[in-house]
C-alpha cells in the first residue's frame, strides 16, 4: 500500500503513553477533560457496571473502559483502559475528509478538528479504525484534540495533568516510547498506521481491551484516497466517487440513526 509522506516532524511529535498497569480507573482524565473543554454532562443510567458513559459521546473525548475477567488460576482481573482518539500517524479520518481544514494535523502531530469547516459528511467515522469520532447536536465532528489550546501554550493536556499515577503520560513521543522500552513494556501502536500518537503499554492482548490486533484503515478508504480521489480530480468523477465512497464507507443512509446520541442506546 502506498504510504502518505509524514506531514510533520516525527522527532518533535507529541503524544501519550498510556500505561494500563498504572491506571487505577479513577477517571480523573474523563472529568478533567470535560472541565477544561467545557463539555456538558451526559445523562446516564447504571446498568450494572462502574463504566459510565458506556461509549464515547460528542461530550466525552476520553473515557475509561473497565475490563473485568477471571484469570486462568481462578483469580480476578479488572483492567482499566483509556479510550480516545489515537492521533494516528496515518489518520484515516484526515485521509477521507473532503472538506479542507475540517481535520488537520498540527506540527506536533496532533489531529485537530474545526467544526466550522466540518460539512457533516461523517466519512471520518467510517474511516477511523478505532471508532472514535462522534457527531454533536449540530452534526459536527467532535473528538479528543489533545487539548491543543493547552499544548500550544506549553501546558500538559488536562487528562494527563489530572492523572495521579502517571498512567497517562504526555510528552515527546520518541522519549515516551524509549522510557517504556527501558522499562520492558510491551507497546501497542508504536509502528501501526505510521505510529499512533497514543501508544499503549498493555498488560494483555489488544483484543482484550477492544483494540484491533493490527489496526488498519478500511480498504474502502484506500480505494477512495489512493484510487478514486485522484481520478476525481477530473471533476465529474469526483462526485461519482463521493457517492461511491458514501456507499462503501457509510452505506445506505439509515446508518446515521445507529450512531448514538447518548449511551442510553448502548447495551452490553
Amino acid at each position: 500500500m502506498a504510504t502518505t509522506p509524514t506531514p510533520f516532524n516525527a522527532d518533535k511529535r507529541k503524544g501519550f503513553l498510556v500505561d494500563t498497569a498504572r491506571c487505577i480507573g479513577c477517571r480523573s482524565c474523563q472529568v478533567a477533560c470535560k472541565q477544561w473543554n467545557k463539555l456538558h454532562a451526559d445523562k446516564t443510567t447504571n446498568k450494572g457496571t462502574f463504566e459510565n458513559p458506556r461509549d464515547l459521546t460528542p461530550a466525552l473525548y476520553n473515557r475509561i473502559h473497565f475490563v473485568e475477567s477471571t484469570t486462568s488460576d481462578g483469580g480476578m482481573s479488572w483492567q482499566f483502559f483509556n479510550e480516545r482518539c489515537m492521533h494516528c500517524g496515518e489518520a484515516g479520518c484526515m485521509k477521507v475528509c473532503p472538506s479542507p481544514g475540517a481535520l488537520t494535523r498540527t506540527k506536533d502531530g496532533i489531529v485537530v478538528f474545526n467544526k466550522e469547516k466540518c460539512i457533516s459528511c461523517k466519512y471520518c467515522v467510517s474511516a477511523c479504525p478505532f471508532n472514535i469520532p462522534r457527531y454533536d447536536d449540530d452534526d459536527k465532528v467532535s473528538k479528543c484534540h489533545l487539548c491543543i489550546d493547552r499544548v500550544s501554550n506549553g501546558l500538559t493536556p488536562a487528562c494527563a495533568k489530572a492523572c495521579p499515577t502517571e498512567a497517562l503520560k504526555f510528552g515527546n513521543r520518541d522519549t515516551l516510547i524509549a522510557s517504556a522500552k527501558a522499562a520492558n513494556k510491551t507497546l501497542y501502536g508504536e509502528n501501526d498506521l505510521q505510529g499512533l500518537g497514543v501508544v499503549y503499554a498493555l498488560e494483555g492482548p489488544p483484543d482484550q481491551y477492544g483494540l484491533p490486533n493490527k489496526p488498519s484503515i478500511p480498504f474502502s478508504i484506500f480505494l477512495w484516497k489512493d484510487v478514486i480521489k485522484p481520478l476525481g480530480i477530473l471533476g465529474f468523477w469526483g462526485s461519482i466517487g463521493a457517492v461511491l465512497l458514501h456507499y462503501v464507507t457509510i452505506g445506505p443512509k439509515q446508518l446515521e440513526e445507529e450512531h448514538p446520541r447518548s449511551e442510553e442506546d448502548h447495551h452490553e
Binding site: 498504572r22 477517571r27 447504571n46 473485568e68 499515577t165
Partner: protein, 830 residues
C-alpha cells in the same frame, strides 16, 4: 499516619486492608506505583475485589468483620516461624514485661479475659496488671521465655488462630492466608519495611479499635514502626479530618489530644494529677509529663488575661463531662430521639444520610425545636422535614440553612493524613451571601456575646471571657472580618511575658526563651505558669517568628526519602516519621542503612556545645540513643515507660485483640469461643427506641452487607451529586453481588432490586460481578453484598442512603458505628 503519603514509596510490602486507596485516596497510588517500580509487593485484603485489588500483586477476600481473625493468624505465623525482629521486640516493646500470674485469656475463659463484669459489660483493667519489683518498677524477662511474659502470652493467645480455623472464620482459603502471611512477615528483616494502609474498613466495626491494635502488634513484631516505608497509616476520609481531629473535633478531646475534663476533676491540679503520667525510669522521656504546660497554655489562649493563676487559668469555665459520660455521634442521636435536645447545629455534615440507622437520625431531627444547617448545598438533613416518610405539617422543627463558602473560597490550613499542615489561599470570592465558616462562627459569637451582655444567662463567663483577637476592630470593638493568620498564630502560641531560660548559665542580660509578644518557637518552650499561650500544643512552631511554616513550598529532599522538610509543616515539630529513633539500634545506627530516617552522629557538635547529634528527620527528642546509660532515652516517648505496648494500652476489650463476630452476623456461634460479640459494646435496646432493631441469624436477612465509597463521589455525595460530571460517572445507588447469589435470587445485572435490613430498605441497581464471591464459612456458604453510601433522596432518581439499613451500634472504645458488617435481604423489584 505515623508516616506520610510520599513515604509509601519506601515500603517493601504494602498491606492494603480495611481501605481502598485506589478508589478513595487515588493520589496515594502515585507513591504506591513508585514503590512497585522499585520492586515492592502490594497485598490487598477486602471482601470485594476493588480497584485497589486490581492493582495489587496478591489479593485475598475475607468476610466483613473478621479482620482480627485474619491478622491474629498472621501474628501466630510470625511467632511460629520466628519471623519477628527480635532485637526490636526486646528493646522497643513491652514484650519482656511480666504479667501477674492470675491473668487468664480467652482460650481459658470462654472468650473473655480476666476481670470481666457481665452486669456492667466492662472489665476491671487491674486484672491485667504487670508484676512489680521492690522499687515499683515492672519485672521483665529479657529472654522472653517466662510463661508470664507478654511475648509468651501473645504466643499462647494467638496459637489458637491456626490457618485452618482462621480460614473457616474468614472464608479466605488457607493457602492464600499463608501466602500473604509469608510475604508480609518478610518485612521482619531489619532492613525491610512493611506498611499498613487502613481506613474505615477497619474502624467502622464493633471491634474497630482492636482491628488497628492487631496490626500495631504485627508492626511492632516486625520492627516496622518508626522506619521509612513502615508505620500504621490511617487514610483519613476527608482532606482536613486530621486537622479537625487535632483541633478538638471530638467530644472527649480538647485541641492537641488533651482530655476533656470530667466534672469530678474539680480543679486544674486534680486534672493534671489524673492526666500527667509519671515515670521513675531515667531512660523514659515520658513526654506527657509536660501535660500541665499544654493545658495551662491552652487555657491562656482561650481566656487570655481573664485566666490567672488565682482562678486556675479559668479551668472552671471549661465545659465538663459527667464522669463516664459519652457524647459521641450515636449518643447524640439517641438522646435527640428521646427528646433531650432543643437545638442542633449540623455544620458541614449530612447526618440524615451519613448517620448509621438514618431513619433513627431523621426521626430524631423531627424532635428538635430548631436546627441550623451550614452547608454549601441544600441536602437531606436541611430538607429532612419534606423527605420520605415525613409529613411536613407534623414536623415542628424550625430549620435554618446557612450557605457556607467552599474550600476554594477561603484561606487557611488543612492537615492531611500525614499530619502535614498546608496553607491554602482563597482562589475565588464566596458566591452570593455564602461565607467562610469562621465568619459564620464569628457572627454567631458576636450575637451571643451581645445577648449575654444585655440579658445575662447561665454561666456567661464561658463565653464572655473568651479571647477574640482575630482581626481589625471597629470603634465599637467588633471585628470587621476574621483573619485566618491571627487564628493560626493563636494556635501556635505567644510568649505573654518575657520568659527567661532557666537552664542557661547566669548572664547579663539573662538568656531568654522568648520575649513578651513573640510567637512561641515550639512546644518545648511552653510553660505551666501562664507565661505562654498556645491554642494547640502539637501545632506550636507552625506559625512562628520566622513566618508561616505551613505556607512553605521548599522542595529540598536531603534524605532522598521524600520527607521534604521545607514543604509545609507537619506536627509534631516538623517530624515526618514519628517514633523515628526506633529505626535505629541502641547505638543510633539505622537498621536500614539505605533508607535511614535518622542516625546518631557522635562527632556532631550541638549548638549547646554538647557532642553528638541526630541527623536526618527531626528526631523524637534530642537525647542520645539508648546505649548512653546517662542521657539515652527510649524511642516511644509518648508512652510513660518509653516502649511500645504489645500488651494492651487500656482498650475496653482486653490487653490483646480477640475475634468477635459483628453484632449482626450470619453465625449463631463464634468459632473461636463461646463469646459471640464484643462483650464490652453498648447495646441500644429496641424497647427504648423502636428504630434500634437488630436481626442476627435471621432468615429474612441472610446476607452480609458492607458499605463503602467510590472514587466518583465523596462522603454522602452532597458536593458530588451536585456536580453533573460526577453523577454522569456513577449515576445512582447500586448493589454489588456475586453471580451465584444473583442466580439464586433471579437477578440480572442492571435489574432494580430492593435491599433491606430490619431497619429499612433501599432501591438499587443490581451490579452482578465476579468481584464478589460466595464465602465458605465453617460448613456453610455465606454471601456478601456491598453498596456505596454516597446517595440520598434529595437528588432525583439516584436512590436513598444505604445508612437506612445500618445498625445503631458502635465500637466499644470509640463508638464509631458498625456500618461495615450487617445483615440484609435482597429481592428483585417488580
Amino acid at each position: 499516619m505515623t508516616n506520610h503519603w510520599i513515604d509509601l514509596k519506601n515500603a517493601d510490602v504494602i498491606l492494603i486492608m480495611g481501605a481502598n486507596p485506589a478508589e478513595n485516596h487515588p493520589l496515594s497510588f502515585r507513591w504506591i506505583m513508585k514503590a512497585k517500580d522499585a520492586g515492592a509487593k502490594v497485598i490487598c485484603v477486602d471482601p470485594r475485589f476493588t480497584r485497589s485489588a486490581a492493582k495489587s500483586d496478591l489479593y485475598a477476600a475475607l468476610r466483613s468483620g473478621t479482620d482480627i481473625a485474619f491478622l491474629g493468624g498472621m501474628i501466630n505465623y510470625i511467632i511460629q516461624n520466628k519471623a519477628y525482629f527480635e532485637e526490636y521486640v526486646k528493646q522497643y516493646t513491652n514484650a519482656s514485661y511480666l504479667v501477674n500470674g492470675d491473668f487468664k485469656m480467652p482460650g481459658e475463659l470462654a472468650g473473655l479475659f480476666s476481670g470481666y463484669d457481665p452486669q456492667k459489660r466492662s472489665y476491671d483493667p487491674k486484672a491485667w496488671s504487670f508484676q512489680k519489683g521492690a522499687d515499683d518498677s515492672v519485672r521483665k524477662d529479657m529472654t522472653l521465655l517466662d510463661p508470664n511474659c507478654v511475648f509468651q502470652l501473645l504466643k499462647k493467645h494467638y496459637s489458637r488462630y491456626t490457618p485452618e480455623l482462621v480460614s473457616r472464620i474468614t472464608g479466605t482459603p488457607k493457602e492464600k492466608l499463608l501466602e500473604i502471611y509469608k510475604l508480609y512477615a518478610s518485612t521482619g528483616a531489619p532492613d525491610k519495611a512493611g506498611t499498613s494502609m487502613y481506613a474505615m474498613g477497619w474502624t467502622q466495626h464493633t471491634v474497630g479499635t482492636q482491628n488497628i491494635r492487631t496490626m500495631s502488634i504485627i508492626q511492632l513484631l516486625l520492627g516496622n514502626m518508626g522506619v521509612a516505608g513502615g508505620g500504621v497509616n490511617a487514610l483519613r476520609g476527608e482532606s482536613n479530618v486530621q486537622g479537625s481531629t487535632d483541633q478538638g473535633l471530638l467530644f472527649h478531646i480538647l485541641p492537641g489530644y488533651l482530655p476533656v475534663p470530667s466534672a469530678d476533676l474539680k480543679d486544674l491540679a486534680a486534672y493534671n494529677e489524673k492526666y500527667t503520667p509519671k515515670s521513675k525510669d531515667p531512660q523514659s522521656a515520658n513526654w506527657w509529663q509536660n501535660r500541665p504546660k499544654y493545658i495551662a497554655s491552652y487555657l491562656k489562649a482561650i481566656y487570655g488575661a481573664k485566666a490567672t493563676k488565682e482562678n486556675d487559668y479559668g479551668y472552671a469555665w471549661l465545659p465538663k463531662l459527667d464522669p463516664g459520660m459519652n457524647c459521641s455521634w450515636l449518643m447524640i442521636f439517641d438522646n435527640m430521639i428521646k427528646g433531650k435536645f432543643k437545638g442542633f447545629f449540623a455544620w458541614g455534615q449530612n447526618p440524615a444520610c451519613s448517620g448509621t440507622n438514618s431513619n433513627k437520625v431523621r426521626n430524631a431531627l423531627a424532635k428538635l425545636d430548631w436546627m441550623v444547617t451550614v452547608n454549601i448545598f441544600d441536602n437531606e438533613t436541611a430538607s429532612f422535614w419534606k423527605g420520605p416518610g415525613m409529613n411536613p405539617a407534623d414536623v415542628k422543627t424550625e430549620v435554618f440553612l446557612l450557605p457556607a463558602a467552599a474550600s476554594f473560597e477561603k484561606e487557611g490550613s488543612i492537615s492531611n493524613s500525614g499530619r502535614w499542615a498546608q496553607w491554602r489561599y482563597a482562589a475565588v470570592k464566596p458566591l452570593g451571601s455564602s461565607k467562610p465558616d469562621a465568619e459564620i462562627i464569628h457572627e454567631l459569637y458576636q450575637k451571643l456575646k451581645s445577648l449575654y451582655t444585655k440579658e445575662g444567662g447561665a454561666l456567661p463567663e464561658q463565653l464572655l471571657n473568651l479571647t477574640w483577637n482575630y482581626g481589625f476592630k471597629h470603634a465599637d470593638g467588633s471585628i470587621h472580618s476574621v483573619d485566618p493568620h491571627l487564628v493560626a498564630k493563636e494556635i501556635n502560641g505567644y510568649f505573654l511575658e518575657d520568659v527567661p531560660d532557666k537552664k542557661a548559665p547566669a548572664s547579663m542580660p539573662p538568656k531568654m526563651l522568648g520575649k513578651k509578644g513573640e510567637l512561641v518557637g515550639g512546644f518545648a518552650l511552653l510553660q505551666a505558669d501562664g507565661s505562654t499561650s498556645c491554642g494547640n500544643w502539637i501545632y506550636s512552631q507552625s506559625y512562628n517568628e520566622k513566618g508561616n511554616m505551613m505556607a512553605r513550598r521548599g522542595k529540598k529532599d536531603p534524605t532522598g526519602l521524600g520527607m521534604f522538610p521545607e514543604w509545609s509543616w507537619c506536627w509534631p515539630v516538623n517530624r515526618r516519621i514519628i517514633y523515628n529513633r526506633a529505626s535505629c539500634d541502641l547505638d543510633g545506627k539505622p537498621f536500614n542503612q539505605k533508607k535511614a530516617v535518622v542516625y546518631w552522629n557522635p562527632a556532631a557538635v550541638q549548638p549547646t556545645g554538647a557532642l553528638g547529634a541526630w541527623v536526618g528527620d527531626v528526631p523524637d527528642g534530642p537525647w542520645p540513643p539508648m546505649s548512653d546509660p546517662k542521657d539515652g532515652k527510649k524511642p516511644f516517648i509518648m508512652r510513660a515507660d518509653g516502649v511500645a505496648a504489645i500488651f494492651g494500652p487500656g482498650m475496653k476489650e482486653g490487653p490483646f485483640p480477640e475475634h468477635y463476630e459483628p453484632l449482626e452476623c450470619p453465625l449463631a456461634e463464634n468459632m473461636l469461643s463461646k463469646q459471640l460479640n464484643n462483650p464490652t459494646i453498648k447495646l441500644f435496646k429496641e424497647a427504648d427506641v423502636k428504630e434500634d432493631m437488630v436481626a442476627s441469624c435471621d432468615p429474612r436477612f441472610p446476607y452480609v452487607a458492607s458499605t463503602y465509597r467510590v472514587t466518583e463521589h465523596w462522603q454522602t455525595g452532597v458536593m458530588t451529586r451536585n456536580t453533573p460530571w460526577l453523577l454522569e460517572l456513577q449515576p445512582r445507588l447500586f448493589v454489588e453481588l456475586s453471580p451465584e447469589l444473583a442466580k439464586e435470587k433471579g437477578i440480572k445485572s442492571g435489574d432494580m432490586v430492593e435491599v433491606s435490613s430490619i431497619r429499612g430498605s433501599v432501591e438499587a441497581a443490581a451490579m452482578v460481578t465476579q468481584r464478589f464471591k460466595p464465602f465458605t464459612i465453617g460448613d456453610q456458604v455465606v454471601h456478601e453484598v456491598g453498596m456505596p453510601y454516597c446517595y440520598g433522596w434529595h437528588t432525583p432518581n439516584v436512590g436513598d442512603s444505604v445508612n437506612l439499613l445500618t445498625p445503631t451500634v458502635g465500637d466499644a472504645n470509640t463508638m464509631i458505628p458498625e456500618t461495615k458488617a450487617f445483615m440484609v435481604g435482597i429481592k428483585r423489584k417488580g
